[in-house]
């Protein structure tokens, strides 16, 4: 599902990045010491419930907000000392959209290119390229007010890449999109990685983090609780679960398989089922079946359950992310 971790050049590095807000009810610690490293060409996901500090972190990295403490280097420039240099090298797509309904898609893209210093003709050429890449050519000269949600969101991404940044920040890129538009957006984001752009995105959708991100960090209450590839994170959970249905004595089966090297834990379950916790379910299953055959155990059914990122989140924070996503 996910590409192997690439340990290329570092594109984003933060050390102890923190941000507090003063509100009427006191000081709120939105982000409390985040350490991150994102390699070149990665799609890095920042997964967490609403209010976990995702947007605050991404806004700090995009120079929109000054950190209260800590340091960061983004695309080779120091966030505190050279924010202007950071701006030149990054693109940022905010959460709630970034366009004027009375402007055309092409008009916004040309202006954006010019604000990044391109000449008029260069900006026009680049706008046409971006419109083609994101399949917005047919709507290029229509007012954005007439666009669908998915088209608007693609244009937002286009505005973030018009100057071909080394790093693109996407804040909740698919929130509010229908499943079709979401799948479409995932393809666009993967396309960006293929062209060498490093993508840093926030999401509260498990499926998105799973399907799209090379590596991800789970953030909760302003702190990173765990980090790694989706597979690595899931392996932190007790492991994969294999459930087999057997004809005959369950105790005998439990006794037999308990000695196998890849089985971590085994136990009986109701309805003639035996439950095994294994390191890697997909390699354990064939071995297990061959072993049971040779031991003359009749296997009626076999089922593999891989832990989801929600199980990871549950284990790390004691809460389920799905409840939050459903509430949002």
């Amino acid at each position: 599902m996910t590409a192997p971790t690439k340990l290329g050049a570092t594109m984003i590095a933060t050390r102890d990045l923190a941000r507090t807000f003063k509100t009427r009810s006191g000081v709120v610690e939105a982000v409390r010491g985040v350490d991150l490293r994102v390699g070149a060409g990665e799609i890095f996901g920042f997964l967490g419930p609403n209010g976990a500090g995702k947007t605050t972190t991404i806004r700090m990295l995009a120079t929109l907000m000054t950190p209260t403490a800590g340091e960061a280097t983004v695309a080779g420039a120091d966030l505190r000392r050279e924010p202007q240099e950071v701006r030149r090298r990054i693109g940022y797509v905010p959460q709630g959209g970034s366009t004027d309904p009375a402007e055309t898609g092409r008009g916004e893209l040309v202006l954006q290119g010019r604000l990044y210093g391109l000449s008029k003709s260069a900006a026009q050429v680049r706008a046409a390229e971006v419109l083609r890449t994101l399949d917005l050519e047919a709507a290029a000269d229509r007012f954005i007010g007439t666009y669908s949600g998915g088209m608007k969101r693609r244009l937002d991404v286009g505005l973030g890449i018009v100057h071909e940044p080394a790093v693109l920040f996407l804040d909740e890129p698919t929130t509010g999109l229908d499943p079709q538009a979401r799948a479409r957006m995932w393809d666009e984001i993967k396309g960006l990685r293929e062209r060498g752009t490093t993508v840093f995105l926030t999401t509260h959708y498990l499926e998105e983090a799973d399907a799209l991100c090379d590596r991800l960090a789970i953030i909760d209450q302003g702190r990173i609780v765990t980090e790694g590839t989706s597979d690595e994170l899931k392996r932190q959970v007790a492991g994969d679960v294999i459930t087999i249905g057997v004809d005959g004595s369950r105790e005998r089966v439990v006794g037999l398989v308990a000695g196998l090297p890849f089985v971590r834990e085994v136990g009986e379950e109701g309805d003639g089922l035996v439950r095994l916790y294994v390191e890697r379910g997909e390699t354990a299953m064939p071995q297990l079946l061959r072993f049971l055959d040779s031991a003359n155990v009749v296997t009626i059914s076999i089922e593999l359950h891989k832990p989801s990122l929600d199980d990871v989140f549950l284990r790390q924070t004691g809460r389920s992310l799905r409840d939050d996503a459903a509430a949002a």
Partner: protein, 252 residues
């Protein structure tokens, strides 16, 4: 010269977008024209009673121009709030563009629209009896530009601080309305009680209106011209300084 280049880019964009949705321009012009047509004719007697001039329209139109500049400038913050909400401002903040250009580009648009409205109002007022001294009218337009450069940045600053229309509307009204009433724009202050006369001398708009009237009536020796222009220049410089700070601040 990034600042100049970016100012022109933002000016062009915001002018085009405003012209595509000209409700505010029409609204801004309708009000003074209604005053001109429905209120102006009532003034003849008052102007003569106060002994402030021969021609009611030469007394009234300069004030009306000031009122239009004040309202036109005071309301520009609403447009910025819409841009804050749509995410356009945030998107531009992440680009390396000049921060001051965000302010200057928009203010330039405001001034250009306001000057066009002023010229239109003057032309419409001629059949009603307005007599125009061309040089005086041109210097009045320069004075209106200063008022625009004072009011528009203040309105933008308020918009950046308050962030919602609901919060901005009462503030704009609470400031603009008393200033206008105390400036003798609608009726001659010569008829006012002494305390109101005194208060009006503290009001910058009184001096702007007096300056505009002197200009319209070719009264070039009137010291109010210099006083009005000086006060408005100081206000404009202060407003631009305040608004640049607001635009520079990182937090949206």
């Amino acid at each position: 010269m990034t600042a100049l280049r970016d100012t022109l880019l933002i000016f062009r964009r915001s002018l085009i977008l405003t012209l595509r949705q000209p409700v505010w321009i029409i609204f801004g012009l309708m009000q003074p024209i209604l005053y001109l047509v429905l209120f102006g004719p009532l003034l003849d007697a008052s102007v003569k009673a106060a002994n402030v001039g021969e021609n009611a329209f030469n007394w009234f139109i300069p004030g009306l121009l000031i009122q239009m500049a004040v309202f036109g400038g005071a309301f520009v913050g609403f447009g910025l709030i819409a841009e804050l909400r749509s995410g356009v401002v945030e998107r531009m903040r992440v680009t390396p563009m000049s921060r001051i250009a965000m302010l200057f580009g928009r203010s330039l648009r405001d001034v250009v629209i306001m000057v066009s409205q002023a010229i239109l109002l003057m032309v419409v007022a001629i059949p009603f009896g307005l007599q125009i001294d061309l040089a005086g009218a041109l210097v009045t337009i320069a004075l209106l530009v200063l008022i625009g450069l004072a009011l528009a940045p203040l309105s933008y600053t308020a918009a950046l601080v308050l962030k919602t229309e609901d919060a901005l509307a009462p503030v704009v009204n609470a400031v603009a309305l008393p200033l206008l009433l105390m400036s003798g724009i609608l009726l001659p202050l010569a008829l006012a009680p002494d305390w109101l006369k005194f208060l009006s001398t503290l009001n910058p708009l009184t001096h702007a209106a007096d300056a505009a009237r002197a200009l319209f009536n070719s009264d070039w020796g009137n010291p109010e011209i210099a006083i009005g222009a000086a006060i408005m220049s100081v206000l404009a410089v202060f407003a631009v300084w305040l608004a640049s700070r607001a635009f520079n601040r990182a937090v949206a």
